[in-house]
């Protein structure tokens, strides 16, 4: 029993020339697959590099334009737009006939994040916007 258990496993098959040939061809196959994978991966890397460069160029060009547009909007347009909206709201306090129009636009202003409260605005309806010289008040005529 012991002799049988301790007997080293003979591997005659590993030494056959047929198996050596198979191992050799498998090595060639793995090498070929690796070369192909390196080529595919390299192509993908070059493609992604080009995409990244294009995106980078676009971003640099667009960032300058966008910052310009947003800067003008924040510094010049938005205060005027907000002022106009506030003064229309104030006007609506004394002229209820504009209420349907204001009701139409209120959700839009809320959507834009503008908190327009006619009471909170110090500018009376009919007064000029910021930066515009005040005019003499005349009574309203209907």
């Amino acid at each position: 029993m012991n002799e049988i258990e301790n007997k080293p496993v003979s591997t005659p098959a590993l030494e056959t020339p047929d198996l050596r040939e198979q191992i050799q061809s498998l090595r060639h196959l793995v090498g070929s697959v690796l070369i192909l994978m390196v080529m595919v991966s390299g192509t993908l890397t070059i493609f992604l590099l080009r995409q990244m460069k294009t995106a980078s160029t676009q971003l640099d060009a667009y960032r300058a334009q966008a910052n310009n547009v947003m800067g003008i909007y924040r510094q010049q347009q938005e205060p005027l737009m907000l002022d106009f909206a506030k003064r229309i709201q104030l006007y609506g306090q004394t002229h209820p006939d504009i209420a349907p129009l204001l009701a139409k636009w209120d959700p839009v202003f809320t959507n834009w994040g503008w908190k327009i409260s006619a009471q909170s605005s110090a500018t009376p309806a009919g007064a000029p916007p910021a930066g515009v010289a005040p005019r003499s008040n005349t009574p309203s005529k209907k």
């Binding site: 690796l34 390196v38 676009q58 667009y62 006007y91 002229h95 839009v108 309806a125 009919g126 005349t138």
Partner: protein, 87 residues
């Protein structure tokens, strides 16, 4: 079993290429996202400008149907008028 140096070189190349691909892909996605974000902000500005123009047109129309001095003054203070341009 001996490893051939060619296999090692190929594996190293493959690993480098894969890592570079990941980096480029990540950078591309980040930059594209930034472009989209800027585009969104600009389109928001354009949308608001168009919106306030529409509101101004509505107020001008209102002032045509309901003429009164207050609304005329309000419009004039913003450089708007409900009168047709002089010929």
């Amino acid at each position: 079993m001996k490893n051939s140096p060619l296999m090692t070189i190929l594996l190293a190349l493959l690993a480098i290429s894969a890592l570079l691909s990941l980096y480029f892909c990540y950078t591309y996605i980040r930059k594209s996202g930034e472009i989209r974000q800027l585009e969104f902000h600009v389109s928001e500005v354009n949308r608001r400008t168009a919106g306030i123009n529409a509101l101004m047109n509505d107020v001008i129309e209102y002032s045509k149907h309901t003429p009164n001095r207050d609304i005329d003054r309000l419009l004039e203070s913003f450089g708007l008028t409900n009168r047709p341009p002089a010929k």
